[in-house]
């Protein structure tokens, strides 16, 4: 027989049977030939041949078995052949109990799916290398105020660093702006970055098309009218046309020649549409901080060396320029800045939670298998009696586990295709690189590892249980013998499950508490009933007086829209990651040294802003349209600032402040007159301590990018459209984005913590459900095993409530043990979540009391149903069972 026919027979049982049939038929035909030759009548010959032959069907079957085994052995290694048999057997077993199979597969799919999904997310957000050349050598350099607060970098300082620092092979600067793009109908805002010519070189990013900026295009005062397009903008604006180089793009009224296109997916550049040369100017004021500076460490130099050198440089620059004496530097690796400790912590926390869920799922399936194992003891006993070795049966059981786990894993893997997009939708746009999460090879590997790991984990218990079993004993009474070992093991599993879900629930409880506190923090404004519109008036198109006028006209037009109650504008939209800082002091108590000035935040706003935000005027007056540099430079301050500088002022927020004089920046700075005090605004991040704020008017500082805030009667699409149309009429040259709202700003701002709560909450809920199923299952099982005993007790006049209490007490014991164990482990692990909590201790008493109690209650509830069933056992039925 050739190898190929072997293969064929190995593969096709039907082929084998046909082969055997033909052979046996040949025998019969030869016999018939002989009998005919002996003179037997033709109609008798066939019957005689068959009679002499024996049981044709049985012999055919035996031969076919023999052949299949032979072929298998020839073609496939013995181990694989046995695995094949085991798999076939396992599949038969699973088909025989579809309920068990379904529950196990769904449970595993949840566990494996959750783990794989979260791994995909963590892989993309935390683990994936940054898309730069040798990203670990990249460092952000910031300035620090004399008090140590981080600050952006001033142009001359950046230029001095770049010229003098030797620990960096090069430094680059960038600053994000909005550029208005015209020339294609409606003017539109593009996100632009002004960058030094060294920028892409430092990052190690090469344009996919064209070139980078040249140093002669990056000179102060003569910035080249050239631009490098972001990949996404290239697709959007030019449809990915590769002949884009040399084309022109009108940005802020100036035609820029496209010289290059960036590669896709460059984090922290992926939301930039266009790059234009920065042209940093050494003549700029050293007090004007707005640059982000990134450097590449020189070969052989360390972060520490760079820190030391930059500190020395800052001191030497401070000596030469006393107005910035005391300013220092802060170096943060790009990785830490982009990925951030919070994200990393959250990522690992969620991955840990998913792993816990997978563990619970495994324990659950393990438990199901144990329950089945004792029900199947008879079958195992028979197989052992027939000579199957313990190893062979263990192998069979493990194969069954592997089959289950593979089915669950496949379902879980399919789940990731739904779950990853769902998780991305939950996370919103605020979590960097979340949008890049996908089913990657690493995700597939994790899934496979989870499948094998799970199979070993939940397949182990039935195998261990097997060691206790003895064939004869098993055969004697399959129904009623439940080995003490098996029962102990199942109880231990429920304890484990409860413990694991307590850990998940405690973590969730802490995050929920923290999130509720965070969401309940008063931002200092009323986010409901507002609409916002972010506008930019490029300074190359509109000069300062034009911008002042334009903002007034836009606001007048907005106020004229029916349904608008109040409207104002601000340079710093709440929770958009922007802040402006400076220093101040009372003129009558001014310190001699500017280092002792008070750091403050400042905002540029228009009249109507406080009303539109729903803030309270605590003293003095609000801004008026004519508040400019005249009349002693009127400003309005926050309640905190009033209290800090005029502690003697009354409780209302300090009338003492109104009419007083503040100094802006340093002893030589402008003198400002406080005309009003408003309630505190916490617009930097939810839960962040409100900084003292000085409000200045747009007439004083005609900021180019302003966000209009309108308080409206009804937030309907019609109102939004009307506001947009009014602004369009008042300012035809300004790009108009979609209308937003303060509520949406707030939602975005708590996206990350909400994400953590939702994902962890989903895990905890699933884990709890599985644990309760475990408690229910084990209690039911215990009751069904003790039906006879319970029946006897009842027959002898036992009180049903005693029996119920006995069953409940048993389950409660498991639950208490599990809760204690889980709480202990969670107590030790709680420091891992501490960094994610807002105003909630990792040992928050409310959480630590509520969660364990709730879980005990739920466990008792889950045990109650079977416990009640126990009391309904009819003595006669119980005794008749067998």
């Amino acid at each position: 027989m050739s190898v190929w026919s072997d293969v064929r027979s190995a593969l096709g049982r039907r082929g084998v049977v046909r082969d055997v049939d033909e052979e046996l038929e040949a025998h019969l035909l030869h016999r018939v030939d002989d009998l005919l030759a002996e003179g037997v009548a033709p109609n008798e010959a066939r019957a005689r041949a068959e009679a002499e032959f024996g049981d044709v069907a049985r012999i055919r079957e035996t031969c076919a078995e023999e052949r299949i085994n032979a072929a298998r052995r020839d073609v496939i290694p013995v181990g694989v052949a046995i695995l094949g048999q085991d798999l076939a057997y396992a599949a038969r077993q699973l088909r025989r109990s579809p309920g068990f199979a379904a529950v196990a597969v769904v449970t595993l799919a949840l566990g494996i799916g959750a783990t794989t999904t979260i791994f995909g997310v963590v892989d993309s957000v935390v683990l994936a290398p940054l898309p730069f050349h040798d990203p670990d050598r990249l460092v952000f350099v910031e300035e620090t105020t004399p008090r140590g607060d981080p600050f952006s970098v001033a142009e001359p300082n950046y230029l001095d660093w770049r010229a003098r620092a030797s620990t960096f092979s090069d430094l680059a600067a960038s600053t994000g702006r909005t550029a208005t793009w015209t020339g294609d109908g409606e003017p539109r805002d593009l996100r632009s970055a002004w960058v030094s010519a060294s920028f892409l070189d430092v990052l190690g990013v090469a344009p996919v098309l064209g070139r980078n900026f040249q140093s002669d295009e990056d000179r102060p005062g003569e910035r080249g009218a050239v631009t490098v397009l972001g990949h996404e903008a290239w697709q959007r604006i030019f449809g990915g046309d590769s002949s884009v180089l040399g084309r022109s793009l009108v940005l802020d009224g100036v035609a820029h020649t496209v010289v290059g296109v960036l590669p896709p997916d460059i984090s922290f550049l992926d939301d930039v549409d266009v790059l234009v040369p920065l042209g940093a100017d050494p003549a700029t004021d050293r007090g004007e901080h707005y640059l982000d500076v990134v450097g590449r460490l020189a070969p052989g130099s360390s972060l520490e060396a760079a820190r030391a050198e930059m500190a020395a440089l800052a001191r030497s620059i401070g000596d030469a320029h006393p107005e910035i004496a005391g300013w220092g530097t802060r170096l943060v690796t790009v990785r830490e800045a982009l990925v951030g400790q919070g994200l990393e912590r959250a990522g690992w926390m969620l991955l840990g939670a998913a792993a816990l869920l997978l563990l619970i799922a495994c324990v659950n399936v393990s438990n199901l298998m144990l329950a089945r194992a004792s029900a199947r003891r008879a079958e195992v006993g028979v197989r052992m009696a027939l000579g199957a070795g313990r190893g062979r049966i263990a192998r069979q059981l493990l194969t069954e586990s592997l089959l289950l786990s593979t089915l669950g894993g496949a379902a879980g893997f399919a789940l990731t295709y739904v779950a990853i997009p769902a998780v991305q939708a939950l996370g919103g746009a605020r979590i960097p690189r979340l949008d890049q999460a996908a089913v990657s090879p690493a995700v597939v590997l994790t899934c496979l590892a989870a499948i094998v790991g799970a199979a070993v984990l939940f397949g182990l218990a039935p195998v261990l249980d097997l060691r206790g079993g003895r064939a004869a004993e098993a055969l004697r009474s399959a129904r009623h013998v439940d080995s003490g070992g098996g029962r102990r093991m199942r109880s231990a599993m429920v304890v484990t499950q409860v413990a694991l879900s307590v850990m998940l629930l405690l973590g969730t409880g802490l995050l929920v508490r923290s999130f509720l506190r965070l969401a309940a923090t008063d931002p200092g404004f009323d986010p409901d009933g507002t609409m916002t519109l972010a506008l930019s008036m490029p300074d190359r198109v509109y000069d300062a007086p034009a911008r002042q006028l334009l903002v007034r006209e836009i606001l007048d037009a907005t106020r004229a829209v029916p349904g608008v109650v109040a409207a104002g504008a601000t340079a710093v939209a709440p929770f958009q990651g922007m802040n402006l800082g400076n220093f101040t002091a009372r003129e009558d108590r001014m310190p001699a040294d500017r280092r002792d000035f008070l750091p403050i935040a400042w905002r540029v706003v228009t009249p109507g802003f406080f009303r539109a935000m729903g803030m309270d005027l605590l003293a003095g007056r609000a801004f008026r349209d004519d508040d400019g540099w005249e009349d002693g430079l009127p400003v309005i301050i926050s309640a905190t600032l009033a209290e800090e500088l005029w502690p003697e002022g009354d409780a209302l927020g300090g009338d003492g402040a109104v009419g007083s004089t503040l100094v802006w920046g340093d002893p030589e700075g402008s003198r400002m007159t406080v005309v009003g005090v408003v309630s505190d605004l916490r617009d930097i991040a939810p839960g962040e301590v409100p900084p003292p704020i000085i409000y200045r008017t747009h007439r004083q500082i005609p900021w180019a990018a302003m966000t209009v805030v309108a308080r409206v009667r009804e937030t309907t699409p019609a109102t939004a459209a009307a506001i947009r149309a009014a602004v369009r009429r008042a300012a035809p040259g300004v790009a108009l984005p979609d209308v937003g709202s303060l509520r949406a700003f707030m939602r975005d701002a708590v996206a990350a913590p909400r994400f953590n709560v939702l994902v962890l909450g989903a895990f905890a809920a699933t884990g709890l459900l599985l644990a309760l199923v475990g408690v229910y299952g084990v209690t039911s099982f215990a009751v069904s095993r003790r039906v006879r005993e319970i029946g006897i007790r009842l027959a002898l006049g036992g009180d049903p409530s005693d029996i119920r209490r006995m069953v409940l007490a048993q389950s409660l014991r498991m639950a208490v043990f599990g809760v204690a164990l889980g709480s202990g482990a969670a107590w030790l692990a709680s420091r891992w979540v501490a960094g994610l909590l807002y105003e909630t201790g990792p040992h928050d008493p409310v959480t630590w009391v509520t969660v364990p109690l709730a879980l005990l209650g739920a466990a008792v509830g889950a045990a109650y149903v079977p416990a009640r069933r126990a009391t309904r056992v009819h003595p006669r039925e119980a005794l008749a069972e067998d």
Binding site: E23, A26, H27, L29, C63, R67, A70, R73
Partner: protein, 115 residues
């Protein structure tokens, strides 16, 4: 004439011996065993086939489809090298066994008849 039920291991040796004379198909093997045992050993003909397949699985015989002397398709079995070795050792063992049995029987006959 008493007919003896054949033992499985015996059947294997008989098949190997039959094939020692060259390739044969199943029916020929069955006839040959019957003839050589003077029809004393009664093989239920069908029982031959599981034995053949068992021997094939062990690698002692190999099979090939061919045409019989009747002009019918039939599966021809022949000994492999391993089969030949097995035939030698099995035959030797079988001979030793039958000799031993024969000796025991002969001795007991002597004791039974102390002439």
């Amino acid at each position: 004439m008493t007919r003896m039920e054949i033992l499985q291991g015996t059947l294997d040796v008989l098949v190997l011996r039959t094939l020692g004379g060259g390739a044969r198909h199943g029916y020929q093997i069955a006839r040959s065993i019957k003839a050589r045992s003077d029809e004393v050993l009664q093989v239920e003909e069908g029982a031959l086939y599981p034995a053949l397949h068992r021997l094939e699985r062990r690698g002692w015989v190999q099979a090939e489809w061919g045409l019989s002397e009747n002009g019918r398709r039939a599966k021809f079995y022949s000994l492999t090298v391993a089969g030949r070795n097995a035939l030698r050792s099995e035959s030797a063992a079988w001979d030793r066994y039958t000799a031993a049995v024969g000796k025991v029987l002969a001795d007991s006959e002597v004791e039974a008849d102390p002439a």
